[in-house]
Amino acid sequence: MENVLDAKIPEGPLAEKWSKHKFGLKLVNPANKRKYDVIVVGSGLAGASAAASLAELGYNVKCFTFHDSPRRAHSIAAQGGINAAKNYQNDGDSVYRLFYDTIKGGDFRAREANVYRLAEVSVNIIDQCVAQGVPFAREYGGLLANRSFGGAQVSRTFYARGQTGQQLLLGAYSALSRQIAAGKVKMYTRTEMLDTVLVDGQARGIVTRNLVTGAIESHAAHAVLLCTGGYGNVFFLSTNAMNCNVTAAWRAHKRGAYFANPCFTQIHPTCIPVSGHYQSKLTLMSESLRNDGRIWVPKTKEDAELIRQGKKSPLDLKEDERDYFLERKYPSFGNLVPRDVGSRNAKYMCDEGRGVGSTGLAVYMDFSDAIKRDGESVISAKYGNLFEMYETITGENPYKVPMRIFPAVHYTMGGLWVDYNLMTTVPGLYALGEANFSDHGANRLGASALMQGLADGYFVIPYTLGDYLATIGPAKVTTDHPAFKQVEQEVSEHISKIMAINGTKTVDEIHRQLGLIMWDYCGMSRTAEGLEKARMEIQKLKNLFWTDLKVLGTHTEMNQTLEKAMRLWDFLELGALMVEDALTRNESCGGHFREEYQTPDGEAERNDDDFAFVSAWKWEGPDKTQTLVKENLQFENVKLSKRSYK
């Protein structure tokens, strides 16, 4: 192969790679750190932890968020927990086991060295968060409590009721706030990044839009960190927040950063089902519920039909009339199989005609046995807020009747390609957290997103960034450089072009259509035929966007429709790439399930001979086919095996 990416993985035994690498990295001496400026885009777990940690070291940080406050990033909505290989439970956990579970959970499509480092620093994250005053759940003796999560047979998940993401984010936000007060971080709220600026091939800044005034502004620095989250909203309906988008990462992609494994998306098995066409988003019910909730559908289609018509209630069905399909098919992991397996099996049940709820697109998650065993008060203490949320949205009481759940788009494993140092293919441009592709392979395990976001921000980038900065030196580029004026002009022209369309379709109408195409053809299961159809449909939508979109108002004021329109265009281009990626990967692995490649009993059939690589896509220009560049995955420590949870 002519084009192969070098991930710069350090030499040496797996367990020593990170320590050795850290020692080999160049340092910037404390007095010189103040001569360097760093831009951090995004203030979620990855962004806030990176901005705070870099400012503590002495760098001058500028941090950007489109929210009104850095505390509102969507990390805040993570419910269940954060993994760490503390082995506080004495149940056989270790750094190696967390590493192995994550590699296996990702269906052997992640990079060994990165995942090992993630498991290694996981223990420091818990220490750091506790020191910040994060109120994790505790036992009566005062020590930290744990629970188990999908894809693992040990209890290594730390949690704060069903609001772990909130508490961790508020911890990072408090560290960030301290640095803002100290003058080491300048915070820009309601400011959206719209492009990356390269000078002599290096990332030297960004162009932003002030969402209140519409002003287009430039910001220069020695390096740019994108901590801008995932792209699940390409599906329109997802568990992402309404404003989550791919714009920052996508515009960086168009400036030369390769986009890796775009088709690896995670469909989470336990979300509240869609109730109507007006639906704006889907709500997750934490994976932790699967510790006590048993998932089932009626054994017969007839019972399912009666339930759908409202003539029977799930409570009418006796034990032997229920099919606990995960426990039946996967006896050793049961309801705690990884997310991709759980989702796909729920889909199979509904495809068979055994789905419940008025639409037939739901399965039950039942807590009656757990309530009988532990009592309502114990269950309420564990999951009270989730049960309340469910009742608020559906009007049903899950203490009395089983929850109805269905899979929904939740997380994107794909993202900007980064090397071991978290640098993209553009020198000086880094990607952290969900915005990069690096640690979860083809499927992410529960409670690992929080771990990765904080690992990247607190414990990886503070080391690896210094090496780059020491190499380029402190000489500054200012926003007077023609490269900034050029990008500003391109951004302004793009905005003017959108404002001038003056058609009849709203942004949401086109976005909904894109979402349906992606869900039907590039969702839980995919075929070459369907993907080819999606390719044509997306092309049609792209044409519709430029001929018939309607955006009112002006670009020199607060204009939420314009914000959404710009994000939609980037989603349309990304959607097209996801389809190409899914078409190229002729195997099934993790969240990517191609119907042509499955075992007789319907499990994913991976092809390690031909596809043990990362697909990184290089932008070649508008309306040109992007080029596939590969990073071959070397497995030196784990044996590639068929992922079995039976």
Binding site: S69, R71, Q132, G133, G142, A241, S275, M389, T392
Partner: protein
């Protein structure tokens, strides 16, 4: 359902605003309140009228972004965030008045969107534990009783939506400030900076133009995260204690 909406429209911070009437039809009772506003905005765009600007994001009750004052109450008739409010709470034919938060320290940005950066500045004044990344000791070396950890968690669930301020006739932020001060005062990690924190956060709260506690407990009645009055009691105790025995010289 068919509803009449009276919505506050205001072009920008410096312009005058007014209530404008709209009618929405075919509203399902399973819709969330914000989805109902989405429907209105789609209609308005189709008609060529400027859609209503409002803040929202996660739509699952945790980011604290949504901030609508509905029929004279923050987040509407029930004690949940606006995004979790569903139309089944309202009756067909009803008139619903929707305004932004009303407080001097939360100026209107546009229509129903306000600027709550004053909350961020209060946290920046001292709502943290000063611990640099990397200097923490093993998490289990600091045992914290379950009861204390749970209470600290209850205070820490504040989402900084600002409903407490909007509910108070004095636009006081004491519940918000009290929640953070109590959380950290309860935990061993918060002890070294305990007095400094209380003094600095209260000083910033005053500087931002929030009023004094009205003692009506309207904030507690409206808080979507059930932050309790005990947090204000604790704030008063922490502040007075800090003032009397201040470490500041």
């Amino acid at each position: 359902m068919k509803l009449t909406l009276k919505i506050w429209r205001q072009k920008s911070t410096d312009t005058e605003g007014r209530l404008v009437d709209y009618v929405v039809d075919k509203i399902s009772e399973d819709m969330s309140f914000l989805e109902m506003l989405d429907v209105l905005n789609e209609d308005l765009i189709k008609k060529g009228e400027d859609p209503v600007t409002f803040d929202h994001d996660c739509r699952e009750g945790i980011c604290g972004t949504c901030s609508l004052y509905i029929n004279g109450r923050p987040h509407g008739p029930t004690r949940i965030t606006t995004c979790q409010l569903h139309m089944r709470t309202f009756k067909d034919g009803e008139t619903i008045t929707i305004e932004p938060w009303r407080a001097k320290a939360f100026p209107v940005v546009k229509d129903l969107m306000v600027n709550r950066s004053s909350f961020d500045r209060i946290i920046q004044a001292g709502g943290y534990v000063s611990v640099n990344t990397g200097s923490a000791r093993d998490a289990n070396e600091t045992p914290i009783g379950k009861e204390i950890a749970d209470e600290a968690f209850n205070s820490a669930t504040c989402i900084a939506c600002g409903a407490c301020v909007a509910a108070c006739k004095n636009a006081s932020a004491m519940l918000f400030v009290g929640a953070k001060i109590s959380q950290l005062a309860m935990l061993p990690q918060g002890q070294p900076e305990r007095k400094r924190r209380a003094e600095a956060m209260v000083a910033q709260m005053d500087a931002e133009g929030f009023g004094a506690c009205s003692n009506t407990m309207a904030c507690v009645a409206e808080c979507p995260k059930s932050i309790s009055m005990a947090n204000i009691v604790s704030l008063n105790r922490e502040y007075i204690g800090a003032k009397l025995t201040s470490n500041q010289v």
